[in-house]
Every structure is written in structure tokens, then in C-alpha cells.
Symmetry: C2
Subunit: 184 residues, 2 copies
């Protein structure tokens, strides 16, 4: 198939940006269209309804998730480092769309839960594979979710130094537990 029209991608991006920055309430068709640089009618040509727009975003998230998990598994510094660092940083397209979907899941599109659960499960599994410790993997996964949550509430951001300490804490704990119950 020929490359999909750029307008489609621009609309999805604009939609995600508005969802994350100012919430579902402000993500009106008009606001999205304006930010994407098209008209309301133009937007509705690509996405015939608001539900279709949300579906489009979720589909996009599925695509991005697979790529992100792969990147996490092959990250040089390891999965823990990769996950925690990207969670505190909302710049990437994947993080943006993930957060947008979590907004949707809290509102009128509970279908979004499914996609979010899949992502959550995929990277908890990757963490477990690296750490060999399901409980610690779960703990790291929760911290990641907490970082996402705080980042979007706009709460005081964890600076890089704080993140480094957290990552070191996990490494230290992983090692300590390998000595006691890990290899059993």
C-alpha cells in the first residue's frame, strides 16, 4: 500500500498531545483539527467519528508497543534502566501515545484498558527475564507506572540524579536477593 496520508498521522499526534496536556475535555474535534493544521471537515474525512479517532490512536499504540518492548530488551544498560528512564521522560512518541491512551481509559473508552494491560504485561515480563525475580520486577513496573503518573500530573519531576539512585537501588537489591532466595 502507498504511504498513508501525512494528515492522518498529524491528526493522531495532535490528538495525543492535547489529551496528555489538557485532558479529554479539551480534546474536541475543532481543537485537534486546528493543532493538526486541518479543518474539522478534513479531520472527519480521515476519522468519521470521535470513536474512530480514539480507535486510530489505540491501533497506533499497539504498533509502537511492540517496537518499544523490543528496544527495552536489547537496551545496552538493561531493561530496568531503559524503562525507568523513559518513564520519567515524556518526549518520545511512544510515551506520548501511551499516556494519551491512559487518559482515554479513564474516560469514555474503556477499550483502551486492554491495550494498556498488554503493554504493562509485556514489559513486566521483560523485567522478570532480566532480573529473575518476579516480585522485584513487579516493584520496578509499579515505579515506572508511578513515574508516568507523576510526570503527567505535572508533579515535581524526578531529576536525573534521583533516577540514577533508584536504578542503583534496584541493582543492589537484585544482587542481594540473588544471594538469598533468587537461585533456589
Amino acid at each position: 500500500m502507498p504511504p498513508p496520508p501525512a494528515a492522518r498521522a498529524k491528526v493522531l499526534h495532535a490528538y495525543a498531545e492535547i489529551l496528555v496536556s489538557t485532558g479529554e475535555r479539551s480534546a474536541t474535534l475543532e481543537a485537534v483539527a486546528e493543532r493538526a493544521g486541518v479543518s474539522k471537515g478534513g479531520l472527519l474525512y480521515h476519522f468519521p467519528s470521535k470513536d474512530a479517532l480514539a480507535d486510530g490512536l489505540l491501533e497506533h499504540l499497539r504498533e509502537l508497543t511492540a517496537a518499544d518492548v523490543a528496544a527495552m530488551r536489547s537496551a545496552p544498560q538493561g531493561a530496568v534502566d531503559y524503562l525507568l528512564r523513559t518513564s520519567a521522560d515524556i518526549d518520545g512518541e511512544f510515551e506520548l501515545v501511551y499516556l494519551a491512551a491512559s487518559r482515554l481509559s479513564q474516560g469514555l473508552y474503556p477499550q483502551a484498558r486492554e491495550v494498556l494491560d498488554e503493554a504493562q504485561a509485556a514489559w513486566t515480563e521483560a523485567l522478570d527475564d532480566e532480573l529473575g525475580d518476579p516480585v522485584l520486577a513487579r516493584a520496578v513496573s509499579l515505579m515506572s507506572e508511578g513515574l508516568y503518573s507523576l510526570a503527567t500530573i505535572g508533579a515535581t519531576r524526578v531529576d536525573d540524579a534521583g533516577l540514577g539512585d533508584l536504578i542503583a537501588l534496584v541493582a543492589q537489591t537484585a544482587q542481594a536477593r540473588r544471594g538469598t532466595a533468587g537461585t533456589a
Copy 2:
């Protein structure tokens, strides 16, 4: 002052419930009024505008926060246990209102951030006082935030067993770190 009318409290409770379960978009004056068992006009007598309603909720949260932090500090099993257990459980009035406020903070009422930040800071401090370890306190605080976040997304809930493991993990880590760098 005489006890405030029961209607006021009922309206705030209904508002919080709708915010948490179906998001800001569905939290219309009409929906809130209906759930609270009053009319739109009746609601608007107590809260003259939607902003006033949100302000009322935030004020209520401030009151509840002080009480919750006090409970956390004097909890028999300790602050870590108390915080993680209450984070996974959305039944209490405090948790409901906290989550409702976090919905508001993501949307049109960034003022909510302030109140949420205060709560966050208060219990991170309580954790640090108990653990004597700022980094670990931060880690637990993030896990708590992650639990909140997942609980409302409606993701697979951490069962009690999983929670117990997490709490044990924190206790174990705290002890291990006291041996190395904690008492320096």
C-alpha cells in the same frame, strides 16, 4: 457553626465517584445532581458554578489528607505497609477523593496539582522518617502512585498476596541498606 447540609456532602461524594469511574467528561452537573439525588438547580445553590464544585472537592481533600497522614504515621504495621495497602484499595473516602483530584489535575483544574503535591510530599516524608532512607522512601512512594494509577485504569489488580511480597521486599531492602550506607 451548625452542621453543613447533608446535600453538600452528598454532592461532593457523587462528583468524586463519577470522576473516578467515568472521567471528567461524564461528570456533568446533571449527572452529579442525579447521582446525589438533587436537581441541577439544587446543586447550583450549594456550588454556584462548576469551578466552585471542583474547589469544594479540593478543599475536602486537604482536610482528608491531614487525617490520612496522621493515620499512616501511627499505623501499627508501619507507614510502608499502610501506604501500599491503602493504595491498592480504592474503597476509602480519602482514596476516592484523592483519585478524583488527580483526574481534575489532568484536565481543566491544574490547581489540583498543588494539593496532590502536598499529599505526595507529606507521605514521602513520613516514609523517610520510618525508613531513614530517602531513596527507598522515594521508591515506595512511586510504587504507591503506580498502584493508584493501575487501580483506576482498572488494570489487573495486585492481589493481597502480591502486596505482601512487595512489603516484605521493602523491609528486606531497608535492612540490607542499613548494613551498608544507611547509618553513615
